[in-house]
Amino acid sequence: MYSFEFEKPSTIADAVTALEGEEAQALGGGQTLIPTLKQRLAAPSSLVSLNGIAEMKGVCVEDDGSLAIGGATTHATVAREAAGNYPALAALAGQIGDPAVRNRGTIGGSLANNDPAACYPAGALGSGATIITNARQISADDFFEGMFTTALDEGEIITSVRFPVPQAASYQKFLQPASRFALVGVYLARFADGVRVAVTGASEDGVFRWSEAEEALNKEFRGDALMGLRINPANMIGDLHGSKEYRAHLVGVMTKRAVEACV
């Protein structure tokens, strides 16, 4: 790890100011950033911890019934506090990493990093969530721009994420055996106005919506509706843990299981 300055502001405004510094880097739970620093793969001049900002923590229900989760809220907190209002999302949070990871890692950190195999991007995109920053509101459909890339500007902070609560939802995660990230994860949410299917782990472009499946399920919400639908393996990730074809196949299996879990 290279030397860096460390700041821990207590307000969003102070954090935004601190992040204006040259080569300043926001620190959420550090579950990706700290290992990266230890490997000397990044050299920020200062780390700005977002963990001291009370207004960025916690889970609450908005007037319209949606769930607002502070950007610095840990996975363990979401797993616990969202369980009543949005059990599928709570279950997703409860499957991330191990207890140590869940007690450090934050939803804002995960979404901002947009790891192509992370769970939260699927949850946010599948739910049609709104990512709220210090500057604006971004719909999940506009937020994820490809592997490790988002719509966030330099120094922009995810202060909270607002999740509309669907009628039913399920996250089906097939584990990569080593990292236990998603080899393929499918988040399916059924709203009054339609079904959303978001896939993580599978694509070289990061999390994506499987629109053909959504269309088929909007016509008929049962597993068999997916029969004959196939994901094109061309853009899938192929690596040590699974070929492109295998991942494409798993997208179908996990989507079917998500549907079956919702009916």
Binding site: F181, H241, G242
Partner: protein, 786 residues
Amino acid sequence: MPKDSGIGASSKRREDVRFLTGAGNYTDDINARGQAYVHFLRSDIAHGRIKNVDTSAAEGMPGVVRIFTGKDFEGVGGIPCGWEVTDRHGAPMQEPAHPILAQGKVRHVGDPIAAVVADSLEQARDAAEAIDLDIEELPAVLDMKAAAQDGATLVHDDLKNNICYDWHLGEADNDKVDEVFANAAHVTTLDLVNNRLVANPMEPRVAVAEYNRGTEEYTLYTTSQNPHVIRLLMCAFVLGLPEHKVRVVAPDVGGGFGTKIFHYAEEAFCTFAAKACNRPIKWTASRSEAFMSDAQGRDHVSTIELALDADNNFVGLRTNTYANLGAYLSTFSSSVPTWLHGTLMAGNYKTPVIQVNVKAMFTNTVPVDAYRGAGRPEATFQIERVIDKAARELGVDPIALRRQNFITEFPYDTPVALTYDTGNYHGTMDKLEAAADLAGFAARRAESEAKGKLRGLGVNCYIEACGIAPSNIVGMLGARAGLYDAATVRVNATGSISVMVGAHSHGQGHETAFPQVVADMIGIDESMVEIVHGDTSKIPFGMGTYGSRSLAVCGSAMVKATEKVIEKAKRIAAHLLEASEADIELKDGQFSIAGTDKSVAWGDVTLTAYVPHNYPLEVEPGLEETAFYDPANFTFPAGAYACEVEVDPETGKVSIEKFTAADDFGNIVNPMIVDGQVHGGIGQGIGQALLENCAYDENGQLLSASYMDYAMPRADDVPFYAVDHSSQTPCTHNPLGVKGCGEAGAIGSPPAVVNAVLDALNSGGKAVDHIDMPVSPSRVWTAMNG
């Protein structure tokens, strides 16, 4: 009725109190006053010619003490290989130099190029980044069969090719073997890979070295399974130091699994640099360094053929194996594919004609050496996989086929150089069939099928040669060391006992089990006996712990030394009791005159030995004895394992539902510790079978270089195990009748898992002959849909 103390009792592991409460003392816990830190700059390419290593910019950086490169070690010895294998033509193996820091070329990702010593580790890392490397990248040699071809790129330019040796064991006459196969009623052939593994002990390697300018003595603290072996190799072959000036300490060690047997460049470097810098030097491997510098395991590519007659008797077995040694010869690497692998190719079966052919290859990968089982898992996997395939092809019951071909008479001379002293393979299989409830399998399969899962049963046998090893035999086979062990039993004045042993405990529970033996022999409480291990300044010259040898070899030395102590104590007791020595009996810590109620307690005798006022003049004072023990033969633990899996046909995911082990370890000192050893071994075997895969890309980059990509088995990957050790044929040639249990689980379990997966797929109508390990979901799905 289980015993509550002594031999046969499940005494609780006394060492666990300190391990579980954070009171252990590991090498990284040791800090010497004024120590400097070393960071090794390692190659990030697999193969390249070193044009220049420019350290000038780095030399003056803050905190830098000194920077070493390969040039500093010209004239210093390299890492030696401890076993010279003779090839099929009678020539010695090709033995390339293995320098402390790379000279001329880098030969694998992780090969150390320079070592930066600095006041802090961060300063050392900063300076290492300022070293300017000019290295011409060369094509990486990776595929073993391609590497064996004429004209292949050479890993070592001074060798004639990349073949360390082309070795043979068993039937030498190729025509005769061909004839056996030509005349066979059935031949089963299988191409398979024994996947490369990274040992991954929880504690990475660490070394702390000190040099005392006043006494000219060195102390090296290091993560080793065998401190005396390290001292001997480092002093005699690398640094040219007198052994009496060097103390090697291996304190608490957090797992070894073989990879901490070997003498490594980093520990020799720290010892060398401690004098050169006149500072204590500390090195702690990061996990990333462990992945690219700890000797790795397995990595064999084999074609195995089994010939059967019309009655399904095995009539011939032949293997052609390529064994990957990596870029350099690690300490015992040459012995693994040969004497620890070829000699086990008879398995538990009376196959009359066996031919083993092994080409050991240099490649641009991390060196490969012994990993839990070392050669024996590779042999077992081939034998038990090809038998399973033969049973399927012939449509016969795989257990019946094995039983039909079991060796049943002992001693048995195999066609591959071993003499099995004892065993009872039918008896052990009987225990397995009962313990695994094989009769209930059909019902369990039906239950799985009702859930949409395919269920498979895999059964296999194994045998291993343990208690390594008779020095005269291994000497003939090329070992450059004796493989005896030693123990000193020091009885203190008040009767407590310190036993200094050559074996090293790094998870095996010696601190509990060894005292059980001594206490049992004397009839005193186990708490009165303590073992001392891991410090060359305290222990006799023993060879350490590997090859399931500790109790069978070092334990035997301990028994011999204890017998000498008892014999002397009886002479003292006879004097005190005014009786003839021949009439003295020792029971429950009391010396008594046979047939009388006259007795004297152990503690009174020991006190008399050290306060010899009323004492036999012809007997020396004191009560301390040493014994060395060289075994007459290997020991031959054997067993039968059964694994039941469920396969999810949609995803290819394998779940182990039931795993049963029936082992014959001979006599058992502590059944609980033996259970734990078997559990751990099976866990590692399941890891190899389902999860672990050390993979390089076509450029020699390690793809699985961290836990993000290298899948270790976790608690939820393995089932609760059923283990049965009631089949016991005691070893015939050591005093305890013990055989060793440390490696069995890792040897016996991989074929059981793979056999079970294939049984599941075939039961589901998928005619799949083989899937290479790890049998990952992706590979299973591909095999089912290929």
